[in-house]
Amino acid sequence: MIELKNVSKRFRKGDEVVEAVGGIELGIRRREIVAVIGPSGCGKSTLLNMIAGLYPPSGGRVIYNGKVIDDVNTSVAYMTQKDNLLPWRTVRDNVALPLEIAGLPRAEREARADRVLEHVGLTGFEKRYSSELSGGMRKRACLARMLLQGAESLLLDEPFAALDAQLKLVMHGLLLRLASEASQTVVLVTHDLMEAVTLADRVVVCTHRPATIALEQAIDLPRPRDVINVRFTNRFRELYDVIWDRLRLEYHEERI
């Protein structure tokens, strides 16, 4: 469904050329949840930007549903690392934006926005502006907006980084449930290995910049998953160890 064919990306920073992504081959199946993990600044976000069609790759092709992406990919909902809430809109109007663009009547989009806000625990904050919210609340508002968009695929760039540990677990459960109900394909960029193993069907470990694939590990934990208890199973431990063994090399290369 999403195919990356020898995809690379170089940026020009002044006179310097930065190689962010260096030749990635990856195929993502329909309804699959793929977690991309790697050191900070290794080009993971660049990968999502290219799948979203925000800019073209320097080399290779990004194919979505059999078509080469050459413009903004409107089949995906993209939750970027920075929260892109519109500061002049209330939380409710922000979350309802995709429905407003789709031309739904006000009453319906507000009812649907309020329902998804309840899911992410933002009931009571509908009329606040994003500047009045904490970082974690903004992230949840973005998550709500993305879920409401009802796109075929979801791209998430470190969506839960600003949340506290407990809330993270609640949001993990919510994402798994709603993505499964809506049969969505998910690409999740994270640097939290625990999160990657909990959520994904497959974990892709990226090398330090330029990003290439160091390891692809299928996560054969049964579904539906209990996001808390799955962590205490032996299979989870084994998978975690296998991936960590490879991932830690990237951190050593970075000399941290």
Binding site: A52, T80, K82, L86
Partner: protein, 278 residues
């Protein structure tokens, strides 16, 4: 070993003493209004006392004479004829200029090609002191109100245009991408992202443009007109009527403050999110 701080405990106490604000900093609203009125009264009294004694009455007139003149003009309705002419031209010029400025600013802000194409001409027009266009507008539109509206509109257009243009250029690219990923059309991106995002810039432009609209109108009236506050100030000056000149200036100042206040109220209504986030 002794700790150095313990040797001289007196010093620490002195440093810890809180810095008290003077009571004048914390004065309340009502008291401040009273103080402001008192300041005005003192200035008026001093003016009255100095006039005719230290400085010739001919140059600075005096508050009583100015007040009498205002009352007389209000009594026979003269001032309202002129005030209305100026107000009408200012509002008309402001509205026309604002619309033109916003449309031009959004258009050039969105279209890189148009912006580059027109850039040298706009720079030249912007550098030109717009008041120098007054004779041209008198030639085109006559000495009636239309030439004043035109002059005000031209002044306003440029200010609003420059601000709108900058605002549109400043729009967060990420927000535009975000809307495009939600299948927003070009018109939707413009209406839901670009224009609201540039709104605070536009308002800043509108606010600075209000006094300029008034300047344009008053100046136009001073050059060639048969009514308006600018005409009245020019006429009074030509009659060596200092009290009359001061009286009109007072009316113009009040009018300018009133217009500013109206724009501020409007902005507060439109930009509640900014006020909340303060």
């Amino acid at each position: 070993m002794k700790e150095p701080g313990l040797e001289r405990p007196g010093i620490a106490l002195e440093v810890a003493a809180p810095v008290r604000r003077t009571p004048l900093d914390e004065i309340g609203r009502v008291k401040m209004l009273a103080c402001q009125a008192a300041l005005g009264a003192v200035i008026a009294l001093a003016w009255q006392a100095v006039s005719g004694r230290l400085v010739d009455d001919y140059f600075i007139s005096n508050p009583l004479a100015i007040g009498r003149r205002l009352v007389a003009w209000i009594g026979d309705g003269t001032i309202f004829l002129h005030l209305w002419a100026t107000l009408y031209a200012t509002i008309a010029g402001f509205v026309i200029g604002s619309l033109a400025g916003v449309v031009l600013g959004v258009w050039l802000g969105v279209s890189r090609f148009a912006a580059r194409l027109t850039n040298p001409y706009l720079l030249a027009l912007n550098a030109l002191p717009k008041v120098a266009l007054a004779p041209l507008f008198v030639l085109w539109f006559g000495i009636g109100i239309e030439s004043k509206i035109a002059l005000a509109a031209v002044l306003v257009t440029f200010l609003v245009f420059l601000n709108t243009f900058a605002g549109v250029r400043e729009v967060d690219r990420d927000l535009i991408d975000c809307a495009r990923l939600m299948k927003a059309s070009r018109a939707q991106v413009l209406g839901k992202i670009v224009i609201p995002s540039a709104a605070s810039w536009v308002f800043a432009g509108l606010k600075t443009a209000v006094p300029y609209a008034l300047i344009g109108v008053v100046l136009g009236e001073m050059i060639a007109a048969n009514r308006g506050l600018g005409y009245l100030v020019q006429f009074s000056g030509a009659q060596f009527d200092t009290a009359g000149v001061f009286a009109v200036l007072a009316v113009i100042a009040v009018l300018a403050m009133l217009l500013n206040w109206l724009v501020e109220i409007w902005q507060e209504r439109m930009e509640r999110w900014r006020i909340v986030s303060r």
